[in-house]
């Protein structure tokens, strides 16, 4: 099965599946200098091999995608799909130049990085973790599975959806980055995550025996300290060491 459009030869579903599977390893050889350049070329390779049959053209394809690239690993499929479409148009002489592809990658990579980091790292991951932590607190080992499912089901689906959308839209993929459904979803997960984590924290602090005890009072004292110290820009490792020392001291008082 192929995607229909004005171009002469289209990528097959199998090629897109291969790109999709490789996209899970886009940061495999992340470097300080070029970031995800090899990773991007590696992910796009199945499409490149389909599009460029001539070895010299294929070499140019690799060199093009070994340029600096940085973007969010979960939204990389959006860029991969769009770039695959642009490569096709470059081959067909359909108003796309090599410079256009490089400029597009730099610009969209940054936009995708910003949107993706907020959506996945700052929102979905903490939200899924809070769900997993609550489940672990109540159900034990199943908490890990709850977290894995809460995080990975949307990720696996969105990555495929974005690959297909990117390939369909080509350079017009910017529409998808500004998807109006992203903001409400982000706000919901941030709000729900905050409420649930606060609920869990109180539950954890009060947990030992469900009674107001010295342990609860000690935990509350360390809670305040753990909250105040990071606000004074003290590194987390130092906060933990100080907390651990104080925890032993409190432990000595209460036992």
């Amino acid at each position: 099965m192929v995607f229909h459009g004005p171009d002469t030869r289209k990528l097959s579903w199998w090629t897109l599946v291969r790109v999709y599977l490789r996209s899970f390893f886009s940061q495999g050889s992340f470097s300080v200098t070029y970031r995800q350049n090899i990773g991007f070329a590696f992910c796009l390779e199945p499409a490149g091999q389909d599009i460029w049959r001539d070895m010299d053209e294929r070499r140019k394809f690799y060199l093009r995608h070994l340029e600096y690239y940085n973007g969010n690993p979960f939204m990389v499929t959006l860029v991969l799909g769009a770039v695959a479409r642009m490569e096709e148009r470059l081959r067909d002489g359909d108003g796309i130049s090599e410079t256009d592809i490089n400029r597009f990658k730099t610009a969209v990579g940054q936009a995708v990085g910003s949107v993706g980091d907020r959506l996945f790292w700052r929102t979905l991951r903490p939200f899924s973790l809070v769900l997993g932590l609550i489940a672990a607190y109540q159900l034990g080992v199943w908490g890990a599975l709850v977290f894995l499912m809460a995080f990975n089901i949307p990720v696996f689906w969105l990555k495929w959806y974005w690959l297909v959308r990117g390939y369909t839209l080509g350079p017009r993929v910017v529409i998808e980055i500004k998807n109006p459904r992203i903001d409400p979803a982000t706000r919901f997960m941030e709000t729900a995550g905050t409420v649930l984590l606060a609920l869990l924290s109180v539950g954890l602090l009060a947990a030992p025996g469900y009674r107001l005890s010295l342990v609860t009072a000690g935990a509350a004292a360390l809670f305040l300290l753990g909250f105040i110290l990071p606000r004074r820009r003290i590194p987390p490792s130092v906060v933990l060491i100080v907390s651990a020392v104080l925890a032993v001291f409190i432990g000595w008082i209460i036992t």
Partner: protein, 235 residues
């Protein structure tokens, strides 16, 4: 000692999954510590340590270009050390609880070493990129997958190597708790309970920074109501 091959393999996977791929989050402490608990036949202890470390590092994100403490490996090595110490030295539940704080502090050291190693590997990957580009520029076509796999493999080896090196050291650190005076052991046990306050604060601070203060208070009020309901129900 039958657990070693599995623990080393898991260490490699945790290190790889953190940034290199597939980033399906098996590297998060909640998952890796639970898995370790299952491997060592102590699932409840694994889950508890997973909750502890996850709360501590909830706000830590392995964003691509950011230099971050290797918190995933830190939690993994600390948990593996504690669980292995329980198995190797036959420590009871009281002793295991006393070893939680030393294991956590040992984890901080591991996280700092992990950060340096990741920095080094990312520099090394830069040289790898230079070599790949040189090959293409000189007119050849090289197997890019092989180079990419090399980068990922090094990340796996980093995790496996850290496990081989640090877990035995962590086992000894946790095992030393047995030789401490009884009073100090008791203090460490109590400390392992109250430290939950500090790690909860660490997690909540993440949302506080994001400006979700009203909702934090709302959730906390809900938690207090939950607590009193449990109290009434309990009595």
């Amino acid at each position: 000692m039958d657990f070693w091959p599995v623990v080393i393999l898991l260490g490699g996977i945790v290190s790889m999954d953190t940034t290199a791929g597939p980033q399906v989050m098996v590297s998060e402490p909640l998952v890796s510590c639970t898995l370790l608990g299952v491997v060592f036949g102590m699932p409840e202890t694994g889950v508890l340590l997973g909750i502890l470390f996850q709360l501590l590092w909830l706000g830590y994100m392995p964003l691509g270009a950011v230099r971050f403490t290797d918190h995933d490996m830190a939690a993994f090595v600390a948990t593996a050390s504690l669980l292995a110490a329980v198995r190797v030295f036959g420590m009871d539940a009281r002793m295991a609880r006393a070893a939680v704080l030393p294991a956590m502090l040992f984890g901080i050291l591991v996280g700092a070493v992990g950060l340096r190693l990741t920095d080094y590997l990312r520099q090394w990957n830069g040289n790898l990129s230079d070599r790949v580009m040189e090959e293409f520029e000189s007119g050849g076509v090289t197997n890019i997958g092989r180079w990419h796999l090399l980068g990922m493999g090094m990340m796996f080896l980093k995790g496996a190597g850290m496990t081989i090196l640090f877990v035995p050291a962590g086992v000894v650190t946790c095992g030393l708790v047995r030789f401490l005076p009884f009073g100090v052991q008791q203090a460490l046990m109590g400390g392992s309970l109250v430290i939950l306050g500090a790690v909860s604060a660490s997690a909540l601070h993440f949302y506080w920074q994001n400006g979700k203060r009203r909702y934090l208070l709302l959730g906390a009020l809900g938690g207090v109501a939950w607590f009193f309901m449990a109290l009434i129900h309990g009595s």
